[in-house]
Structure formats: C-alpha cells, structure tokens
C-alpha cells in the first residue's frame, strides 16, 4: 500500500541531500521504492530518472544564481553525459553491468580516500587541472552517462570526484556543476524509459516523489551555497564509501559471488 504523505516526506529528505551534494538521489530513492513500497526495479529506475530532472533544475538554479556553475566545463560534459545516458538506456537489459559496477566500486573507494586526503585548505579554492584527467574528462563523463542510463544511478558520484580531484574545481563548484549535469543525463535515460511505455506503476509514485524531491532540492541548494566546504567534503566522502559498498555488493550479487 502506497502512503503518499510518508513517501512525500521521505522524498523531501532525499531531495535536500541530493541538492546539497549535487547528486541525483537515485541511490536512495531506488532502494526506498523497491524495498519499502514493493516497486519493480525498472519502475524504481524510471521514477528516479524522472524525479532527478526537476531536482537537478531546482538545485542548479540556486547554484547558478550564486555563480557556482562553471559553464565552460559543464556544457561539454552535459553533451557526453547525455550521449552516454541515451546509449545506457537503449542497452539496459541487454548488457551485463556487474563488471562495470565493480570497476566503479573500486574507483569510488579510491575517490573517497583521495577526497579526504586532498590538501586544499578549506576546499574552496581552484587548482590547476590534472593533464591526465583533463584528457579523460569526456570519456569518463560518457561512461558515467551510460551507468546512469543502465542502472539509474552513479552520475553525480562519478562526476564530482572527476571535477574536484581531476579538473581542480573547488568542491562546492564541482557539486553545483554536477547538479546541473545529472539532470541532462537523467533526461536522456528517462526519455528512453518513457518512450518504451509501461508507465502505469510509475504514475502511482511520481506525484509524491517529484514534488517532495523538488522542494527538498531547492532547500538543499540553499544549504549547499552556505555550507562549509570541509563539511561538504567529509559528507561526500561518506557518500562515496556507501556508493562503493553498494555497487560492489550488487555487482558481486549479479556475478553470483554472494
């Protein structure tokens, strides 16, 4: 039985979290819908993708007005993330994603440690981009887009370390830029899901999740502009560890190791 008000309240919390850290929120909304509300995984992914778009819009508008989004970095990344998102959505269900998840689990665990260990004062100053990562920026963004289209999550947690550790953006700017990009890659994935049809079950969750996450993301964006970068860094490292654990677990599960 779906309790719309409870789902709305939980979605507000997830939206605050997503808006604050520049994530999509799929990692929380998908388990919530599948475990607590009995939704199928494809329904949860579709709801997550559709909810991420207005969430991203709400958070990125707040960041945009405070000048935290670097368009010269973001717009090309949007293009590659969208391309990856479309391809991911089209091949979803046809390709084994277990190895991709295990690869990203290792990358995310490394990123968590690197984020915590990076010495950059208060975390609010830009650094020279790493030449290696500057070259790999577009292929990595493309892969993150594919992962978003395939499993409905993973965009933000890959893009933020890429921008913060690899491209030298301040942590807050990396999160704000990620908030913008995840909306575009989610649109690509959601378009494929919606055009395939079968939205009846999606409709029972959508009103509560979208309105809740939209409101939460707006508040999260406001919080993110004011939050101390060191606190954002620490919170984000915790999220990365959780993502890494979850991806390793689902990847190992798919391969029959667990």
């Amino acid at each position: 039985m779906i309790e719309p008000l409870t789902l709305f309240a939980l979605s507000v919390g997830i939206g605050v979290f997503a808006g604050l850290l520049g994530l999509g929120g799929g990692v929380l909304i998908i388990p919530l819908l599948t475990l607590s509300y009995g939704a199928s995984i494809s329904t949860a992914v579709a709801v997550s993708l559709l909810a991420v778009i207005p969430t991203s819009m709400a958070a990125s508008t707040v960041y945009l007005e405070s000048g935290k989004i670097d368009f010269e970095t973001v717009i090309p990344m949007c293009f590659f993330a969208a391309t990856g998102g479309v391809i991911g959505g089209l091949i979803a269900g046809f390709v084994p994603v277990a190895w991709l998840e295990l690869l990203f689990a290792v990358i995310l665990a490394y990123s968590a440690v690197a984020t915590l260990l990076k010495k950059d004062g208060n975390g609010d100053s830009a650094h020279d981009p790493n030449r290696f990562w500057r070259r790999l920026k577009d292929p990595v963004t493309f892969l993150a887009g594919i992962l978003t289209g395939l499993v409905g999550l993973g965009g933000g947690v890959i893009l933020i370390p890429l921008m913060y550790l690899g491209l030298g953006l301040p942590i807050r700017m990396a999160m704000a830029s990620s908030a913008f990009i995840v909306g575009v890659s989610a649109t690509a994935g959601a378009t494929v899901f919606v055009m395939r049809g079968g939205l009846t079950e999606v409709f029972s969750f959508l009103p509560s999740v979208v309105t809740g996450m939209l409101l939460g993301a707006f508040l999260g964006g406001k919080l993110g502009v004011r939050a101390a970068p060191a606190a954002l860094k620490a919170l984000f490292a915790v999220v990365l560890v959780y993502f890494s654990y979850r991806m390793a677990l689902t990847g190992a599960g798919r391969l029959g190791w667990m």
Partner: protein, 99 residues
C-alpha cells in the same frame, strides 16, 4: 566575448518548476480526492512530458544565449545535447519494444 546573460534561462527554469510541481500536486490531489482516474493520468502525463521537454527547451535556450555572446563552441555543445535527446526519442520510438 560579451558576458552571458542567464536571466532568460533561470526564468524559464523557474516557470517550468512551478508548472511541474503544480501538475504533480494536482495529480496527487485528484487521486486522493477520488476524482476520475483519467484526470489524474492526464495530469501526470502532462507533467512527465513537461519534465522531458524542459531539458530540451533549457538547453536550446542556453545555445541561443551562447550564440548571442558569440561563444560558438558552447553553442554547438548546447545544441548537440538537444540533437542527442531528439535522436533518443526518434530511435526509441522506431526500434524499442515494450519494457
């Protein structure tokens, strides 16, 4: 290169957000008040369509804004996103089977 005026973009985003929230809230209220199921479904369909079209509209607006300030590279990437999303719609409609 002239500075980018983002006002039309943020204004468009805010209008879309208000409309999406309004449609979704109305759909939820229609269900809660046991109004005809077809009404709730139509409101939700309109909300979903608006969510998907909004990214196209926003990226196209950004492309036009970049064109106005003469940033050709960013303009091409912005319109590239629009082209990718339109391609996704056409490809999925043409080739995809049910879920």
């Amino acid at each position: 290169m002239r500075p980018l005026n983002l006002r039309p973009f943020t204004r468009l985003t805010r209008i879309v957000l208000v409309l999406v929230a309004g449609l979704m809230f109305s759909a939820g209220a229609a269900k809660a008040l046991s109004l005809p199921a077809e009404l709730a479904r139509m409101l939700l369909l309109a909300g979903v369509a608006l969510i998907l079209v909004s990214t196209l509209a926003r990226m196209a607006t950004l492309g036009l804004l970049f064109r106005l300030v003469g940033n050709r590279r960013m303009m091409l990437f912005s319109f590239g996103v629009v082209a990718i999303l339109i391609t996704a719609i056409i490809v999925t409609r043409t080739f995809a089977t049910g879920p």
